[in-house]
Symmetry: C2
Subunit: 292 residues, 2 copies
Amino acid sequence: MTARPAPVIGLDRLSLNQATVKHLGLAEAAALCARHGIPAIGLWRDRVAEAGLAEAAAAVRGAGLHVSSLCRGGFFTHADAEGRRAAGADNRAAVIEAAELGADTLVLVCGGLVPGSRDLGLARRIVADAIGDLVPEAQRLGVRLGIEALHPMFCADRSVIASLGEAIDLAAWFPADAVGVVVDTYHVWWDARLADDIARASGRIACYQVCDWILPLPADTLLGRGHLGDGVIDFGPVSAAVTAAGYRGYVEVEIFNADVWAAPADQTAGTVRARFAAAFGSGEPGRPGPAG
Amino acid sequence: MTARPAPVIGLDRLSLNQATVKHLGLAEAAALCARHGIPAIGLWRDRVAEAGLAEAAAAVRGAGLHVSSLCRGGFFTHADAEGRRAAGADNRAAVIEAAELGADTLVLVCGGLVPGSRDLGLARRIVADAIGDLVPEAQRLGVRLGIEALHPMFCADRSVIASLGEAIDLAAWFPADAVGVVVDTYHVWWDARLADDIARASGRIACYQVCDWILPLPADTLLGRGHLGDGVIDFGPVSAAVTAAGYRGYVEVEIFNADVWAAPADQTAGTVRARFAAAFGSGEPGRPGPAG
């Protein structure tokens, strides 16, 4: 990465992705953020559905929160036309939800190989086609799609879009206000081309998500994420590159980790704030939560 | 990948990496290859040391085998000068062993982050320096170093060289006959830039290793490799690209997998042959081994 000095990112740009407190319902997660002075939240569709869309929107607005992302659309790579049609319909519903919630972006996890196929090119063409089909609805409702590059270890089963460079190449086919990319440190930290690719993503970064890469990788690799500082990722250079690329949005902490999930949510929120302040130099040691 | 037709690769180019039959000593592995008409073998230094270098060289020559690779040098990224000096000495010893064995390449697994550091750039500079220090000895003894890009999930702890493109960029600093790259399907299959990078590696491919990516990934991700055909990798396009890049050497089957290791070695060798013939179109259904 570049030798650019790490930018200060204040706690006013912190967002808590609700997957970090997986066991809380939407209203509880919103209240948690409000209680800990966290100004934004990343929402998940299953929790929105559980609460009801209008009620969810009212709950986050009532808590004074901004919605930095809605997770997630995607999973486009079905073998049959019927499956692809159903995925299209589900993604159009996700766009409507993102609009209603005022989310900065609808995160797209694009899907792995087509079942029964080893053809990466086919899967990638299906993804490109599906995003192309979705863009008009996103534009109509003013929702920005965020293509998330997942770590290559998820290429077979979750996302054939496996590097930031590839996500940018795909996003570049569409207007920048309709399709951007999600930079998630967990997925892209290893990439020797990361600084160049982030620079290339200027004007296209729809969301910046952070968590740490911890060792050893747990048995369920989906859950190998840690609080900022518990792992090996050097957040400064990535944040410097993202900032230099013009990103001024929220920085979303999203941690899938069985131990984090087992901790009391107020303790987790306190740790998220403190680690964010330490990693991004906002100079506040983190305000302890009421139960933290 | 490209639409180039998959090339036929005959069984006369099959090599068995001895890690696939991990529980066999060197002489047993050499005898296994001879028994199954496998003309080449990839050796591991621990098994060579156990047999004795001169005895190992005599055993593989006696069995009529070619040595397609010696695994492995590398692990350069130590925190202290003493550790780096020791790694340098160990790698020079590996070069001597590779020369004595007549190995086509000494495979380099370069090492992860420097202990106590999150600086990927530092680790990569240490790797580059260490390879530069090793090249004169390799040239003196006529040994070709093969930089292996490992899958990005091993970036933190095993290899900061995490994509084929990066391995090529590094190798390109040195003469092509001294430093090449290892293309291992398990590590690079997911990469959207793979076809372009393999083309760029023309004249630099020191070894082509194959095994499959199986799902789900096991708890120990080092062992998530399968026999050709048991996973999701489409070997045809990769082989076509490697062939178009001028590679005419052995194709080494290297499988780390607890179930494969638990199987009788003759059965494994028979399966390796049969799957190789199926994957690379050599038209022979695989000669069953004596015990297969």
